[in-house]
Symmetry: D2
Subunit: 308 residues, 4 copies
């Protein structure tokens, strides 16, 4: 059996030179204010035992990691019907490109590019009727899977996102013109940004992902959130599409289904074994946490847990 | 010298079979209500003598013909500075495509595609400060060049456009994300639609275009609206970009600088001689008035006034 | 009446500062060897009187100007059938882009981008059966319209083009895969390059274009080469598509139907009055002769002969 | 422990209704002649024990499966230098699109789209100097990893491919124009087609892939063909890019690194455990073997060996 504690101690040491490389996201002022040199890594096993290094209780903006939770929720509600409105294939384009969306008549490639997550948010809005009710349900879902009621969103980040969210408004309006947004564009985009501005620690994120490592069933509470097939789908979309235009790179270096956010967080699952979350705000050139990606790579190399 | 009256009488007769071909614009309910079988043609010479056939006093929605007036006005205010924000070349894409706009970093190809006219509207908004003041100045400009105070906009068309204007909102938001829209997106797009919903008759439109046939100077009032060079620019952009993806077709068949609108109107100028307006609501497959284009073709063929 | 001689003398003087701006085409060694500081301009009227300045007898590579002659020839053979295989609209993309060609299933936008001229060459090859016979007929056609048997091609340029012609081979193979090239790709592209490497002086080019200024009839020999409608088509395509991605710019500054080549030549017609050719090897950023474009602009400004 | 024999027997039965769905590749006559209703599946473990159902000794055209072998070979020769010329990310476009290639300056997205495999072939040609020597080395490599000297190519398929290979010639010429093909285009494309026309049975293919399931070392002969890191790379590229525009779909349904060919074959590896090959000529709408994909899905479902 692998010695997780020993491996984390090694990572703690070896990650140091990477903590000062890369740049934090600065497209909105609220994200640019974060301390750039932070690092945390949390692992949790099916028996609930957890291993942490660094600032594992520091909350940060989960940003695109929220896409995993909204996709899961919508898949649970709509099942395969969801795929009529959002695809499941890698995009081969930057995360916010309009080109493919126009050629493909407003159907986004997958739920992890912005356009896809906006459509997913629209499906939730249709189900939960109001903006507030939708966000409350998304947040409650995250609280439930985290087994933790103390999770909320960062109002400043949310407002800052919306003030600079013209490209996402362009994506949403374009999809609306193709008939692929059912609700008011402003409501959809505001809810999308609110989801992105939820703040969590690595300890909380690792806990929240555990059900995805276990066929949709939380191994601690035994609550089934989604079917085994749906969990397989979420994991396979994370592996092929979870890191924008660097998904292939991540698959090679890390070899685990995962999803990153520009806030510096990355979540990953080792199917049937554990879930992992890392945090470090400086990003590499593809917009993924530089030290976070490296820490995950070190982990799978040392533990031999890469799926390849 | 050509006998305009005789030519118009011939056109009146020959155009009959074309009046029932094509379909009216129906993307907004307000435009779909127009009587589809109407036809009018108006010509005005530099001495003020005018020639008309059909329902030449019927007002219709000028739609994209407004782009000629807003481009003229903005060119007059900003001169060559305007070209930093909007190009002067044909687009080779449908009038409302986002693809080229994304690859070219939010700079529209020319002022006669939607994105270009939206940028032009934004420049006017920056100059005239408020939405209402901007529209008033555009309308006043049109009243002045038409020598006619009795021109207004159709409120129902305007509101209907905005309710279905998601693609234009997508274009405007995309350009805003590239920094090429300075004002509030909603204000810009609303003003753009208000300009499009101005209603005029062919008699009024022909009169309004006369200064463009005469180097920027109204030959009747002798008022100079723009420089000779600017008038040449407006005319050359009309010739190369005036009819979306059928500009080459129009240049060949009609051989005059012109601009069409989905309301069924087309304006054209014979440089140094006259201006012309036609109206017939049914459109060909490129979105230009079918009988209107044919009438103009018959006119240049019979009169020998094509520029080629 | 305008004094052409006086205008040309003024141009001769005013053009000096422009002769040393821009860069010659250097994508093939054979073109890069030309003396870059040359200039010539030739005008010919319907009565045969001709006006020349500069090195008007120096032969240079006509390059894309050959597209006017092959399009004319193919239009004469196939009439409207030709448009099933090549369009008539501006492209809004660089002259050798494959993107539009792929999205539009191998049908080039117009006969003046490379793909279009390659299809036109293929239609001639189908008509004249062999590579040699096709080129001989193209050359003979040029000799006839020039009323000059002393015209040939530059073998070194031709071979140099083919050695570096990978992008044109890519275009031709792509169109072949869509079924829009009937003959052997290598034969078509070699013939295309041979046409491009025909060498002519401005005096010869001005003479060759005269029939296009006169509805398809050579005003000196009275020979009708194409119908009036076909001549109108060639002229309107020159105006809207004659200068790649600077066609709108050329339409504004010069205001005449024209066609440029990377060898430094430009031809233009003043419908019903004259034809013009200029030559100066240094190119502007769009690949058109810098001093040549300026000389034409000076000419239409001074003579008032712009069509706008 | 799973009972492979029992699982294969179940698959043999359950696959029947799928054998008559889909259509065989018919873009070349030579492929269209194959018996469409065939099926075979072969599995081999690290100890050499093998399990087979169906026509497991029938040789078929491996087509794009050859891309795995040429990529492996080139990676072994050039190591990371290879990535300067070919990427490692999913493409989000059909396998033979030119659009992305033009925008990305002739650098293909990954080695498993046609353009990428053509570049890989070019690197081998540079290394082995001649066309024949290159193919001999590729074939020998395949013979070695298969531990089987009785493998050859199908001359008729190879010639038929080249006769209809215009799009691949377009891709190669486009890359050559960007400087990303070093050898003669014709030689590169001919060698590429020769590689594609190698014929193998599922038994042979499963054996050939075994080293990729075991970190680059053949577990039977103990020969190390590539490093562990290179094997991880080949597997991760297979998972994210192995099935053209259906890679995400395959990752979900099958959950194994794999590569398909239009000849009806698919290879896959279960890291650290086994390699698998299936064959059935009828293809689904993405060009992958329909029954073959289904058989692999049944296998991972029944065995629980999906990586997710």
């Amino acid at each position: 059996m692998i010695n997780i504690e020993a491996i984390l101690n090694e990572i703690q040491e070896e990650i140091q030179p990477y903590l000062y490389q890369g740049n934090i996201a600065n497209y909105i002022p609220a994200l640019a204010k974060v301390n750039p040199d932070q690092f945390a890594m949390s692992i949790i096993l099916f028996d609930g035992s957890s291993y942490n290094i660094g600032c594992c209780d520091t909350k940060f903006s989960i940003q695109s990691i929220s896409k995993v939770f909204t996709f899961t929720k919508s898949l649970n509600i709509y099942s395969k019907e969801l795929y009529k409105r959002v695809g499941k294939e890698p995009s081969g384009n930057p995360f916010n490109s309009l080109v493919q969306l126009e050629y493909e008549k407003g159907i986004p490639r997958n739920p992890f590019i912005n356009a896809g997550a906006i459509v997913v948010t629209d499906t939730l809005l249709s189900h939960y009727k109001s903006k507030d009710n939708t966000f409350d349900n998304v947040l409650n879902f995250i609280k439930n899977i985290s087994d933790n009621q103390n999770i909320s969103f960062d109002k400043e980040v949310c407002e800052s996102e919306y003030e600079h969210g013209f490209r996402n408004l362009a994506l949403a309006n374009l999809m609306k013109s193709f008939g692929n947004i059912d609700n008011c564009v402003e409501d959809v985009v505001k809810t999308y940004f609110k989801n992105c501005s939820i703040a969590m620690s690595t300890k909380e994120l690792a806990r929240a992902m555990l059900f995805l490592a276990n066929h949709g069933v939380d191994p601690i509470t035994n609550h089934q959130y989604i079917t085994s097939s749906q969990a397989k789908r979420v994991n396979s979309v994370m592996l092929t599409c979870g890191h924008y235009d660097a998904s292939g790179e991540f698959a090679f270096h890390v070899g685990l289904p995962g999803k990153s956010g520009v806030g510096g967080g990355i979540v990953a699952v080792v199917p049937k074994i554990m879930s992992i979350a890392v945090f470090s705000p400086r990003l590499n050139s593809w917009g993924n946490s530089l030290a976070g990606t490296k820490a995950l790579e070190l982990f799978t190399t040392k533990s031999g847990l890469s799926i390849f």
